[in-house]
């Protein structure tokens, strides 16, 4: 049973559209993350947040933006989608970094930009 939810699961949309990928978790975790993963490839961190009103860019440069207005919600937005944004986007959360708590992942959103 998933405690972290991503919508939509799949999205096919045209170039230039504004897209928001939703991510919500019900575990009360402070830490949330967005990863980008091309098929069969490694995960790359694109954004993370350590709490409300806290957002940072990850290792992989991304044209997307994120917001963290509520603890449980961490949406990712692409203002103008391009074919190069086609990928899978995984959201994750974790309760604490001090004890090396593992991250919990959502099911992912497969995004295709035509």
């Amino acid at each position: 049973e998933a405690d972290i939810y991503q919508t939509p699961r799949y999205l096919v949309i045209g170039t230039g559209k504004k897209i928001t990928l939703e991510c919500s978790q019900t575990m009360g975790h402070d830490k949330m993350y967005w990863y980008q993963q091309d098929p069969g490839m490694e995960l790359h961190l694109i954004h993370y947040s350590y709490g409300v009103n806290s957002t940072e860019k990850g290792d992989l440069s991304s044209e997307s933006t994120v917001s963290r207005i509520r603890t449980e919600h961490f949406p990712l937005t692409l203002e103008s989608a391009r074919p190069s944004h086609t990928s899978q986007y995984l959201c994750a959360s974790s309760p604490s970094w001090l004890q090396g708590q593992p991250q919990h992942f959502g099911d992912g959103t497969r995004l295709s930009i035509l």
Binding site: A2, K31, Y33, Y35, G40, M41, E42, L43, H44, L45, Y48, E56, G58, D59, L90, A92, W97, L98, G100, P102, Q103, F105, G106, D107, G108
Partner: protein
């Protein structure tokens, strides 16, 4: 910067047999965690096992165990009595406990096929 290397893009194992997935990492730090995650096709990432770097004893979770060699910076995953449900992409990951950014660094993954 930390790096994680999985040198086996694909592996296969016969059902009920044992398979070992390799992972090496590079860091100058001494305090960290290592993880193996499993990602079935089109499904969530699931934590399989984790190892604290300060513990010498290898972690074990049922049929899954690791061989952690800190000096060699090696962290391999052994799956015993392989089952069809073990087929997935397996990712090795590294978490550093110092510094300002605490996020997982993932390897490129190993696609495991289990043959009936």
């Amino acid at each position: 910067a930390q790096t994680v290397t999985q040198s086996q893009p694909e592996m296969s194992v016969q059902e009920a047999e044992t398979v070992t997935l390799s992972c090496t990492y590079d860091t100058s730090e001494s305090d960290y965690y290592l993880f193996w995650y499993k990602q079935p096709p089109s499904r969530q990432m699931i934590l399989v096992i984790r190892q604290e770097a300060y513990k010498q004893q290898n972690a074990t979770e049922n049929r899954f165990s690791v061989n952690f060699q800190k000096a060699a910076k090696s962290f391999s995953l052994k799956i015993s009595d392989s089952q069809l449900g073990d087929a997935a992409m397996y990712f090795c990951a590294f978490l550093l406990l110092s510094g300002s950014a605490r996020q997982l660094t993932f390897g490129s993954g190993t696609q495991l096929t289990v043959l009936p």
